[in-house]
């Protein structure tokens, strides 16, 4: 009996120990698996962030080196990969089928065009990418003018508050967005990878990847298909039915790449010098002979569309200060000059510094060029051309004309260079381009005007090239 009792006790004890062990191991397993799940969720999110950041770096690098690959071009971004039909493949930018000029495009990140591996987010999905119409490198649909003052066409809202987090002003509107679609949400069906070696899905149905935000009513999957400001949504926290992650690229980030290149000023000076040579060559080709050095009138400062070459036209202007003209028929009516376009028709024979890339460089920077012409050298002046009172720069010289490059916007002068259709026109004010006397002397009517030139600082950054009374060009 006693024996039996002790036996029972021992059995119970052992079973309890074993049970405890089972419970502890079970709990440990549960804990580890939960930790693992947390860790993997965190690592998914950090993978997404890292991929978005790599994509942004690659896009900025692509834009920065674009002018080196395509001579004279601006710092453009690639078109998205829109589908795999036709001549373009997985990861290639749809450069020649990329919407109308100015139309914002949404598709996959063109990783192959960028030269990088196919970046995926934490859910293993390839990244998506939207690019502003004016910034896309799209063959014939490329913007007629692109420089760091061109504004983006994207607007970023926050799901939780509905507030515009980026894009209240022209300067803050993103020029491009990179979007990570995240895992599948209810209602989304995504095609799996099919072909061997394929990096991203052939499924270009954006609705299956990018989400509709219920709070703001904005869909990240749709763009309007016309020239408009396109809205996208990001969420700061967890929002039901929305798991896109969005990283914007601002025009400032692109602008810094352009301005920080240490060959920027050299190249701009070359261009300005060459443009001044073209103008001089035009004056020297008047049918009146070597004594007739009359030049062309500038174009008005306010234009209907600053992007269009043919707007830079001296039509009926008869003014002596304004934008550098390309179309000069009205001046030619007085001078008899046969060359109707000063810059488009310019050639290295006439202007030694002129080369093939100069015309596209001018096209991208054309709103930055301003011209003062001495009244003695205007189309309406008497021949032979000679100076009574011509232009001077800081009190010295006698110049027939002065060409000015406006350079980057100055914070100190609160310069703003926005334009319709999305913003009020501030390009119509020469004070948003030039500084000090170069601004206040406009409109210049007759007599002596003393322009200003000095090394760039926080309040002045105009670059001047002068044509003397025999139309010889020099920096001044």
């Amino acid at each position: 009996m006693m024996m039996h009792n002790s036996l029972a006790r021992r059995q119970q004890g052992a079973a309890l120990l074993v049970m405890m062990l089972v419970v502890i191991v079970g709990a440990a397993a549960l804990l580890v698996s939960k930790l693992d799940r947390n860790a993997s969720r965190q690592s998914q999110s950090s993978t997404t962030q890292a991929s978005l950041a790599s994509a942004k770096q690659a896009l900025l690098a692509y834009a920065m080196s674009y002018p080196d690959r395509v001579s004279g071009a601006a710092a453009q971004l690639p078109c998205p990969d829109i589908d795999t039909s036709g001549v373009t493949l997985d990861g290639e930018a749809h450069e020649f089928d990329c919407g109308a000029a100015g139309e914002t495009m949404l598709g996959r990140l063109p990783w192959k065009t960028l030269g990088i591996a196919a970046l995926t987010d934490g859910a293993g999905e390839c990244l998506w990418y939207a690019v502003s119409g004016d910034y896309k490198s799209a063959g014939a649909a490329t913007a007629a003018m692109l420089n760091p003052d061109s504004s983006g066409q994207l607007e970023l809202l926050q799901s939780e508050s509905g507030a515009v987090v980026q894009g209240q002003t022209a300067a803050s509107r993103p020029v491009a967005l990179i979007i990570a679609s995240g895992p599948v949400l209810g209602g989304q069906t995504r095609q799996a990878l099919g072909r061997p070696g394929q990096q991203c899905s052939d499924d270009f149905n954006r609705q299956a990847f990018l989400d509709d935000d219920a709070a703001t009513g904005v869909s990240n999957a749709s763009v309007s298909g016309s020239v408009a400001i396109e809205q996208f949504v990001l969420a700061a926290g967890v929002v039901d039915g929305f798991n896109d992650r969005v990283l914007p690229i601002t025009r400032r980030e692109l602008a810094e790449l352009v301005y920080q290149r240490h060959d920027f000023e050299t190249r701009i000076r070359e261009l300005t010098h060459a443009l001044a040579q073209c103008l001089a060559a035009h004056g020297k080709s008047n049918p009146g002979g070597v004594t007739d050095l009359r030049l062309a009138w500038p174009s008005p400062v306010p234009l209907t569309d600053y992007r269009v070459d043919s707007q830079y036209d001296d039509a009926g202007s008869g003014i002596l200060s304004g934008r550098l003209s390309d179309v000069v028929d009205d001046s030619n009516a007085l001078t008899g000059n046969a060359t109707s376009r000063v810059l488009t028709d310019c050639s290295p024979a006439a202007a030694p510094l002129w080369d093939a890339r100069m015309l596209s460089m001018w096209q991208n920077w054309k709103d930055h060029y301003f011209l003062y012409v001495a009244d003695a050298f205007s189309p309406a002046a008497a021949v032979p051309s000679s100076c009574g009172s011509c232009l001077t720069v800081d009190g010295s010289g006698q110049y027939a004309a002065v060409l000015i490059f406006a350079n980057r916007r100055l914070q100190s002068a609160a310069q703003s260079r926005d334009a319709p259709p999305f913003d009020a026109d501030t390009r119509d004010d020469i004070g948003n381009y030039l500084e000090s006397r170069n601004t206040t002397l406009h409109p210049y009517l007759a007599g002596n005007a003393d322009l200003e030139s000095r090394p760039a600082d926080a309040t002045f950054n105009d670059i001047l090239y002068c044509l003397d009374t025999s139309l010889t060009v020099s920096a001044c």
Binding site: S43, A58, D90, G91, I116, D263
Partner: protein
């Protein structure tokens, strides 16, 4: 007394274990097995992550080197003990190892002082040997050559394919299998199963050998400008676990321009 003891001992053994113990062992086996499985996967994943991070560090160091020196370093060879192997101004090998000592990258090294991945196998490093102006200097490794050749002309030629099928020594089978055909640099790890490379894709990455270090080890290195990068696979004859990384030309130029080394 004796009987009593024997009886007691007998009933002690029979009354409890056999069934219970079997169940307990079964349960514990299941739990431990369930734990151990993800543990080994996790270990593999951690090694893959570690190697990816190391590759990222190497990419950063290469770009940093280019930002300060204006060119990329030559690959290391077993004989150069972790330094870029340069001879007469040119590189001794186009395909070799990460010159970790030249770059100042830290990490485990082997007996030939080569930088190791998480599986204790050296990282491989290839650099484009293109010579656009035909002056005998490789564009990307000769000092000053990138600037001389100029940004608009530089066109590196290292190629990464998604499969070795149909690839040549200079190109992939076609555009559909080309991941890039213009990388200046490729760095890769041979992955977990580095000692076996039976599939065509893995052989493509290490078609040649390089030896000559103090340990007299003969290492596999790339034989040509074409590498393969694809998703890992275990299917017999089609295994792949190499982790391949390359730098985009534009990314390299971007960093060098911002550092004033170009244009």
């Amino acid at each position: 007394m004796l009987t009593k003891f024997r009886t007691g001992s007998f009933s002690q053994q029979g009354g409890f274990t056999l069934v219970e113990l079997a169940i307990v062992i079964l349960i514990m086996g299941l739990i431990l097995g369930g734990l151990a499985m993800p543990l080994s996967t996790q270990l593999d994943n951690a090694r893959i992550r570690e190697t990816r991070t190391a590759l990222q560090d190497i990419d950063d160091a290469l770009q940093g080197f280019a930002m300060t020196n204006g060119h990329l370093p030559c690959p290391a060879t077993p004989a150069s003990l972790g330094f870029a192997d340069v001879s007469g101004g040119g590189c001794v090998a186009q395909h070799g190892f990460v010159p970790a000592s030249t770059l100042g990258v830290s990490g485990p090294r082997n007996g030939d002082n080569l930088l190791l991945d998480a599986w204790a196998n050296p990282f491989r490093y290839s650099v484009s040997a293109v010579d656009a102006d035909g002056d005998g200097n490789w564009d990307f490794t000769a000092p000053g050559e990138m600037r001389d050749v100029s940004l608009g002309v530089l066109d590196p030629d290292l190629t990464v394919c998604s499969t070795a099928t149909g690839s040549s020594a200079t190109a992939c089978a076609g555009p559909a299998t080309t991941l890039t055909d213009s990388a200046p640099v490729i760095v890769f790890s041979m992955g977990k199963d580095w000692s076996t490379f039976t599939s065509a894709d893995q052989q493509e990455n290490v078609g040649a050998t390089l030896a000559g270090g103090p340990t007299a080890t003969s290492y596999r290195v790339p034989a040509d400008n074409v590498a393969v990068s694809r998703r890992p696979g275990e299917q017999a004859g089609n295994e792949f676990d190499d982790i391949v990384s390359w730098i985009a030309g534009s990314a390299l130029y971007h960093r060098m321009v911002s550092a004033g080394q170009l244009p």
